[in-house]
């Protein structure tokens, strides 16, 4: 007796394997940090039950494949056109990644990107032309100038509202353009163009294949540096906190409640990004050996904006992919003339009109559309499942239970409609063995009923007297006898249990 009692309500022979996921793979970390290289998780394949690893975060994979392609494609093709196009892609992508850092992480809607780049380019270029400083010094000067410029621009940001700040910085490029045009030292004579800046690759090499490849590799390295800075700032503690603050309604007091000086950190990120922009400007000057007023034009700024918008605001991958698309169009279809800019504008317009956040926001957008559809669908099916809509059962944490209950309810309704004298007669004639489909389904439903208060047959004397009991469901508590009827055969007892269950089903 004691053995049966122990088995009540419990499957004794469920297989268990020891879960030792720490032994499944060895975690590799970036040297000097506690960050793991790849986000892997060990698990057992539900079908084969083999130990296996799953790559939970596939981004590093995509990044490395994409960057490798970006590096190898022009080097492999090795035509001038490819070098030019991909060089521009790398530099613009680096600028856009830094802009993304300003807009996305720092949360400052600044349009002063190209102004900062231009300051770096003109400042370093001027020093190079006038005093003949070499290119490494130019890069340092560019970064310094960019940092100072960033600090200056960030001053009004503390006082101004997001939109006001955006408009103010939008005017900055125009302002810088006027400044350069009026200034003789900065090439006002040549309509703002500056020539003869020190080249990063020696000029005599430039005509050769090797020189072109080297030049392209430097641009690629500039992009890598920008991405590393983005990763360092955006993935660091302040970056994460800043983004957390920005997602919750851009609430600065919330951020300060998190323990960070919002304004200070924002400014810090902005200055880092600006220094990087100045660096890129200087790099651009030494990359093409000069600079021109085009860098301050509103159209170029809009083109850069289009790149970010097409890719998706606030994401590094969006900035890079958007740049590849837009620069690809503008550099590849040069024979289309102004029409390609129109095409880029139309693409940007389409991505603003039809997507929430560019290419890389599509996934979330589709998710949201699906959720809305589901809401409408739920509205349509009210009649059937009115009792168990997820919104009405907020106390049930496991939403699959709600689904289960909804299913059980519809199942009960279906089974109830099958109850008829024929079915009962069929069971009475043959309680055990093969049955008709409906009866079999009904019996299956009865069998999986929960143990507490489940009807069972109790054998008083084998082959002589049987009784119907209800299980208690608790170990150590005996079943209770439900009535005083005694059945002479097991079949009759079975049928009695069946009738009771049918009655309960009817009443439910």
């Amino acid at each position: 007796m004691s053995k049966e009692q122990r088995l009540v309500g419990r499957r004794a022979y469920r297989p268990h394997w020891p879960v030792n996921s720490h032994k499944v793979f060895k975690r590799r970390r970036w040297p000097g940090t506690k960050r793991s290289m790849l986000k892997l998780s060990g698990r057992y394949n539900p079908k084969t039950l083999r130990r296996e690893m799953v790559l939970t975060d596939k981004k590093p994979l995509f990044w490395s494949v994409g960057l490798l392609a970006l590096l190898l494609l022009p080097l492999g093709v090795a035509s001038d056109r490819f070098f030019t196009m991909f060089g521009i892609i790398c530099i613009y992508a680096a600028i856009n990644v830094m802009w993304t850092l300003i807009i996305g992480t720092a949360g400052l809607q600044s349009f002063a990107t190209l102004a900062t780049v231009g300051v770096g380019a003109y400042g370093a270029g001027y020093l190079s032309v006038t005093y003949g400083i070499p290119w490494p010094a130019m890069l340092v000067v560019g970064a310094l100038l960019g940092g100072v410029m960033g600090w200056l621009i960030s001053l009004p940001a503390r006082r101004l509202d997001g939109l006001y700040y955006a408009l103010l910085t939008l005017g900055l490029s125009e302002f810088m353009r006027n400044f350069v045009t009026q200034s003789d030292a900065l090439g006002g004579k040549f309509n703002g163009a500056l020539f003869g800046v020190a080249r990063i690759v020696p000029s005599d090499l430039l005509t050769t294949q090797l020189g072109q490849s080297l030049l392209y590799i430097t641009a690629f390295i500039a992009l890598l540096i920008a991405l590393a800075v983005f990763r360092w700032v955006n993935g660091g503690r302040t970056g994460i906190l800043l983004r957390a603050a920005a997602t919750s309604k851009e609430d600065e007091s919330f951020a300060s409640a998190l323990g960070i000086d919002f304004n200070k950190e924002r400014t810090r990120v902005f200055i880092i990004a600006s220094a990087m922009l100045g660096f890129l400007g200087a790099f651009y000057a030494t990359y093409i050996g000069g600079t021109s007023l085009q860098i301050f034009s509103l159209d170029l700024l809009l083109l850069l904006l289009a790149m970010i918008v097409i890719g998706g605001l606030g994401r590094a991958e969006g900035a890079v992919v958007g740049t590849v698309i837009v620069v690809g169009i503008t550099q590849w279809f040069t024979e289309w003339g102004p029409w390609r800019i129109v095409l880029v504008g139309a693409l940007a317009l389409a991505s603003v009109l039809f997507t929430r956040n560019g290419l890389f926001g599509l996934k979330e957008q589709i998710q949201e559309i699906r959720e809305r559809r589901q809401a409408l669908h739920r509205a349509a099916i009210t009649g059937r499942y009115a009792e168990y809509l997820p919104q009405q059962a907020p106390d049930i944490l496991d939403k699959s239970q709600i689904v289960g209950r909804v299913y059980e309810k519809s199942l009960r309704e279906r089974l109830r409609s099958w109850i008829n004298p024929d079915l009962i007669a069929e069971h009475e004639a043959k309680p055990m063995g093969q049955h008709s489909d409906h009866l079999e389904r009904m019996l299956n439903y009865f069998r999986k009923a929960p143990i507490p208060d489940k009807y069972a047959v109790y054998c008083e004397v084998p082959f002589e007297s049987y009784r119907v009991v209800a299980l208690s469901g608790l170990p150590g508590v005996p079943p209770r006898v439900v009535d005083d009827k005694v059945y002479p055969t097991l079949e009759q007892a079975y049928h009695a249990v069946f009738l009771r269950r049918v009655n309960d089903l009817r009443a439910s």
Partner: protein, 240 residues
Amino acid sequence: MSILKIDGLSAGYGPVRVLHDLDLEINPGERVGLVGLNGHGKTTLLSTIVGLTGWQDGSIEFRGEQIGGRRSHGMGRTTPHIVRKGIALAPQGDAIFPGLSVKDNLDSGAYSGATWRSRRRRRERILEIFPPLAKLLGQSAGTLSGGERRMVSVGRALMSDATLYLVDEPSLGLAPKISVNLVAALCEIDLGDGAMIIAEQNLPLLEGRVDRVLGMHAGELKLDVGEALGDVPPAAGVHL
């Protein structure tokens, strides 16, 4: 013919569903109280009638004309058309225009169609209903007290040529005495062929003044007591 006939109406915001399969019928000349706790869907019901919820599904017939239907976006896009058909809503809170004068605020209620020309007469009628507003006509609405703002808000709804008036929580945030006066004034207005729905948390305010009271609980209409308003036991579904 009934003025408003709602059939199987569900509505909500995003994934949240607030109204569950509602049926409701309002007859001409009727003044209906809608009573229920905070967050049980009174405001949502009134907003849904004028198309101000995130999504909605189900039939809303206003004087035999379908103004509901299935909609999952474009919140508020149909509102002006519905309002011009003759439904006036005094929304929760005030939604008055703080920079405009009280007079302009009232006039904006008579914005649609031919009512604009008769706005002076209509304004005088509102001033009869809410005499305190008469002295304030030239004042900027942003400087008014809570009770005065509510009067402006309700008065603006009454300015229009509507047959169905929806008044959302007239007593919310007001001192008891002011809210009693306001609701009393609302209940004395001659509706003619029109009808009025007043959403309230406070049942005693409406008792004896309206033709019938509906209870609202968890997005469903729970109670339809008709004339026997006095006999409603508190436990019958209305939580106060």
